[in-house]
């Protein structure tokens, strides 16, 4: 068992850049996921995030959360279509379900579910790119001088996750190795045991942190990371993306209303934006991508 989101040192601008630069770069995509419901714009943001992950050499690290997000998105879309009984365009009329009673499937509820699902997928893709490319140690280092206790908790959690994943895997295997006459091991018992073990593990990790000097009263050194090649491009891309997002928000050009009847803005402004978002996101990564491919051929 391994963690869904896995950082590894990577070449390329996204792997080298300081965390705040990557945050600015990804901010427009995250904002689109959380603040917009137009499916064309969301699709564009999703494509941009996936391309950014691929260009950063984190295709595999992005694919795993993407698969997870895909399954979750399908579930959300299906549940919304069944649970929401609003909308004027009935696609499937009247079937009975336990608890819910008589259910109609409407085009509007289905569309709203798909949009919700898209937002989840985009948000997870953006987070996957972030966690695959940004060294958590650098983020924690940045937080530490501002909020030492929060950084301590975050450090414990960030280390406890892979340790607990390894423990869980071992416990599950030990469960399979029990003899036929031993008490069966259910998921609840395993989960209880894993939680109890995690408490022990976190005590050991806390002891290690104590020995490293976390409890020192003096203000810790805050390393200054030098500017890295490609950061200017990422920053420019992030700012350009935010400008696009702001323009969309101010003009209201990318509207989406599910009820009572489906209304989706799909005019030239949306089309231009949908093309511009992936282009702007990919622009600072293209040079490095092409150079690495040329280098590969050599």
């Amino acid at each position: 068992m391994s963690s869904l989101f896995a950082y590894a040192p990577r070449r390329g601008p996204l792997g080298r850049a300081r965390p705040w630069i990557v945050a600015v770069y990804l901010a427009p995509l995250a904002t689109l996921a959380f603040a917009f419901a137009n499916p064309f714009v969301l699709l564009a943001a999703g494509v941009a995030a996936a391309l950014a992950g691929l260009a950063a050499g984190a295709g595999g690290a992005v694919a795993r959360p993407a698969r997870f997000a895909g399954g979750l998105a399908l579930t959300v879309a299906a549940v919304n279509a069944i649970a929401s009984q609003r909308g004027a365009t009935i696609l499937i009329r009247g079937f009975d379900l336990p608890v819910l009673g008589r259910v109609d499937i409407t085009l509007e509820a289905l569309a709203e579910g798909v949009v919700l699902a898209l937002r989840i997928v985009v948000a997870l893709l953006v987070f996957a790119v972030w966690s695959a490319c940004v060294d958590p140690d650098r983020v924690l280092r940045a937080i530490r001088p501002l909020a030492a206790r929060s950084a301590l908790t975050a450090t414990l959690v960030s280390r406890l996750v892979p340790v607990a994943a390894a423990d869980g895997s071992r416990l599950a295997e030990a469960g399979r190795l029990r003899g036929p006459a031993a008490a069966p091991v259910g998921r609840a018992a395993l989960a209880r045991r894993l939680v109890a073990g995690s408490l022990d593990r976190s005590v050991d990790l806390a002891a290690t942190l104590e020995l490293r000097g976390y409890a020192l009263a003096r203000r810790p050194f805050r390393p200054r990371h030098r500017r890295q090649p490609g950061e200017a491009g990422l920053l420019a891309s992030g700012l350009a993306g935010m400008a696009l997002v702001a323009a969309l928000a101010l003009t209201g050009a990318a509207g989406f209303d599910a009820y009572p009847r489906l209304a989706i803005d799909a005019g030239p402004a949306v089309a231009v934006t949908a093309l511009a978002i992936p282009a702007v996101a990919l622009a600072p990564l293209l040079g490095d991508l092409l150079r690495s491919r040329d280098g590969g051929r050599d």
């Binding site: 140690d137 030990a174 104590e210 020995l211 000097g213 976390y214």
Partner: protein, 541 residues
Amino acid sequence: MTEAALAIERLEYRYPGAPGLALAGVDLRVGAGEFVVLAGRSGSGKSTLLRAACGLVPHFHGGEIAGAVAVAGRSTRETGPAELAAAVGFVAQEPETQVVSTTVRAELELPLELRGAGAGEIARAVEEAALALAIEPLLDRTTDSLSGGELQRVALGAALVAGPPLLLLDEPTSQLDPVAGEELIALLRRLNEESGIAVVLGEHRLERCLAAADRVVALDAGRVLYDGPPGRFGAAMLGPAPELATPIARLFDLAGLPASPVTVKQARSLVPAGVAARPADRRPVGEPPAGEGLALRCRRLRVELGSRADPREALRGLDLVLDPGERVALMGPNGAGKTTLLRAAAGILAPASGSIEVPAGAAMLSQRPDDYFVRERVDEELPGDAGAAALAAVGLDVAGDADPRDLSGGERQRLALAIAMAGRGAGGEPGGLVCLDEPTRGLDRARKEDLAGWIGGLAGRGAGVLVATHDVEFAARFATRVVLLARGRVIADGAPGDLLGGGWYFATETARVTGGRAITPEGGAPLLAAPRDPLAREEAR
């Protein structure tokens, strides 16, 4: 007189809620640049003493403390572990919980950053520590991609990077193969000699580290039992704590030789002339019962690990047959495929090609017995008549109402074995195959002797027993056959006397001393003893 790296006076300590003292009046002084090996049975107080020396006791663990501990002149009562960390580094047994950063470089940088060191100082110290410990190639790797041995070195680097004059280590080699374990000890000795770092090393496998030590301190029930040079340690322990004596010390004692050498080189120089002409000891450890049928058969077995997209071949066309009643030590370096073979036999891993047959089924005990415990009481883990029979088979039928986690290390191991075997075999007999993965990790010699007895009992009742182990001394005590793996293949398969007698790393101390003519002290003693009449020698056997 120079200031001691560590000074402990009349130290008494009781863990919170514990009925007895973990340390009961310990006096210890470690001088600057000394290399001290801390010996003792399981539960003798070694780990507690090391934790007291770095301030975790009492600041982190709580409890009641009396007496005084000073590290480089600073009292651990008034100074917490974080502030003491500049004067003392601590490396614990479990490497997984000793790294707290994502990358190796960040792990080494962290202690210095937290002390407010500057960027230049940090960069230099990290490079120097990495070069000294040969982990420079790992600096930009993520910590979750490292092996146990690599993680242990990184933890050592993080403990050393701030340049403490005292280093404490609690069984750092327990998870390493003989090669990696000896490399680590050599590395510690080099750091001690070249950098003047005082080292206090808690260890069970004393034969690995006594040669590096300036001094040995043995604990027993929280008290100092011995404090002196390694050269007298073996002889001194033969009376009060014979299980702490090294194989060489036992060999010389059984042979009636007055000397108690520490190293194989010293021992060889003291071996009487004419030993090479005496007949080699080739007695079997025990007669295997004439069991019927088959315990295990592997034919051209290939097993792949890793993801489907990136598979790694762990077993590469392995052939092996095991009969009921056989006691087989499966040996080889880390990554040789030992655990993979056991997991395949237990049905956890499926072959990629070839076949594996376990006609009467397999019970497997993995490296951590505690993973098998999910209930609060022993009898809840093993309910009913079959459960009671399984408990009785390992001698734990009287401990039904105990919490599994309150049992001793050896009892926990036996309970886990009972859980793995419950309901297998017929008529209360184990039957089939019993697989044990590194069962001696963290066990002292007395518990290893108990375990060897249990393995003999299982084999005597018809089970084929396959034990993956790095512990050559243990293998020499229990095995009737040794199988050596390397890179997923069997590279040697034969009698313990042949395989543990002639190798470089997979050879016992007795074998090294006697030139491979015997592998256990009991077998080697008649060779070294003064020639007697044949009848007397036979009696000695």
